[in-house]
Symmetry: C2
Subunit: 209 residues, 2 copies
DNA sequence: GCATAATACGAGCGATTACTCGTGTTTGTC
DNA sequence: GACAAACACGAGTAATCGCTCGTATTATGC
């Protein structure tokens, strides 16, 4: 006989799928506004317009919500990155950087909870696990992008460069998201400026190793 | 008659001063390891080797501990910055950057709680208030440094440049602190590389506005 | 030595929070 | 329409945490 499923996954009805969407949306807003710890599950339920009990029919605990949110972000990010992170041959470095930075910033603006899963240094262990796939995915994409831009880089230098690029973006996302619209575009431009200057400099010294 | 002091500050004995040091040290370690929210006041007390009641004879609440820690960091930072952030005339840009980055990294390694007050984007409001003076102080220093390095920058461009520099460092501090020693020096070098490339690029376009 | 203030203790209080459970309602299937 | 499964509710529970308070000990000034 087959091992009995501990949690026989219920067959979701359309109502249930809609509830899940509401819950994840409410959670994303709360995470983005107050951070993970300060967000209460009862608060998420209230914001989603349901009772605490209903929330726990779709998610086993608070971490599970963060995990589901991260998974969803990862899927949506894949779509965005498929367009904006590929490097067509013969395109200037600053255009590639601009495209990638733009898509990440837009994604953060459209998904307010994202930065809580991506740009935060000291998360509780449980949440770090939930956010890990998102970070790995981003790292791979940035790695491919940098490798395409600067083919002369050996693997070690490539790794270090990816860390610098990724964490530079992480560091600047909070002020960018918090800024007013005009200030935001200034900051985005300056982030692109910084990354471009760095990558050009890396490229200039890549061959002479 | 004078207004009665609500909290007549007790005259600290040598014992009391020593306790305060123990408490702040324990708090710094806990904040650095687990973050602010996950750190419990009873945990700080236990780590400091005292009872919860004793802790509250020196601090009115948890925020007060963070505030005192921030104040202490600010004083110690002033000493460090006085040496390493001043820009002697005729010194190369990359040397100034290297000195400043080195001092900030060393400070973080020596004071494990610092990054919880400096490099974290989504803190609770109460803690943001405690950390604000530290951030302002750093901002001023970086501003002075950049202004000395690139005198041609107008005020607006200067502000933006400072934000980029400061948040780039913020973003890279977590991986730098977490890295092993050899990886750490590589990352520090690369952070200096990035900042230098960016500032040189800013300097190159500063006159043509 | 004596009075006063500072330091020390730790059990426990009040508030908060993640999560449960008993019960009732809606939806899909035949 | 009948049955089961999915959905919904919200008061309640157990555990945690910041903080208090009554009491005991140690240091200081005279």
């Amino acid at each position: 006989m087959p091992v009995a499923a501990i949690n026989p996954a219920p067959k979701r009805q359309a109502r249930g799928e809609a509830r899940i969407d509401q819950i994840l949306l409410a959670a994303a807003k709360s995470f983005g506004e107050q951070g993970y710890e300060a967000t209460t599950t009862n608060g998420i339920a209230a914001r989603a317009g349901i009772s605490p009990g209903s929330l726990y029919q779709f998610f086993t605990n608070k971490d599970d919500i963060a995990h589901a949110l991260a998974t969803r972000y990862m899927e949506q990010l894949s779509d965005v990155q498929a367009e904006s992170f590929t490097v067509p041959e013969g395109v200037a470095l600053d255009q590639v950087v601009s495209s990638a930075v733009g898509s990440i910033v837009d994604f953060n603006l459209a998904h307010p909870g994202f930065k809580a899963l991506f740009a935060r240094p000291d998360m509780p262990e449980s949440m770090r696990a939930a956010a890990a796939p998102v970070n790995e995915r981003l790292q791979e994409r940035v790695r491919d992008m940098v490798a395409a831009l600067i083919p002369a880089l050996d693997d070690q230098r490539l790794d270090v460069t990816v860390v610098v690029v990724l964490h530079t973006v992480k560091g600047l996302l909070p002020p960018i998201v918090a800024a007013t619209e005009s200030m935001r575009s200034t900051l985005v431009g300056e982030l692109e400026h910084s990354l471009t200057a760095y990558l050009r400099s890396v490229a200039a010294t890549a061959g002479s190793a």
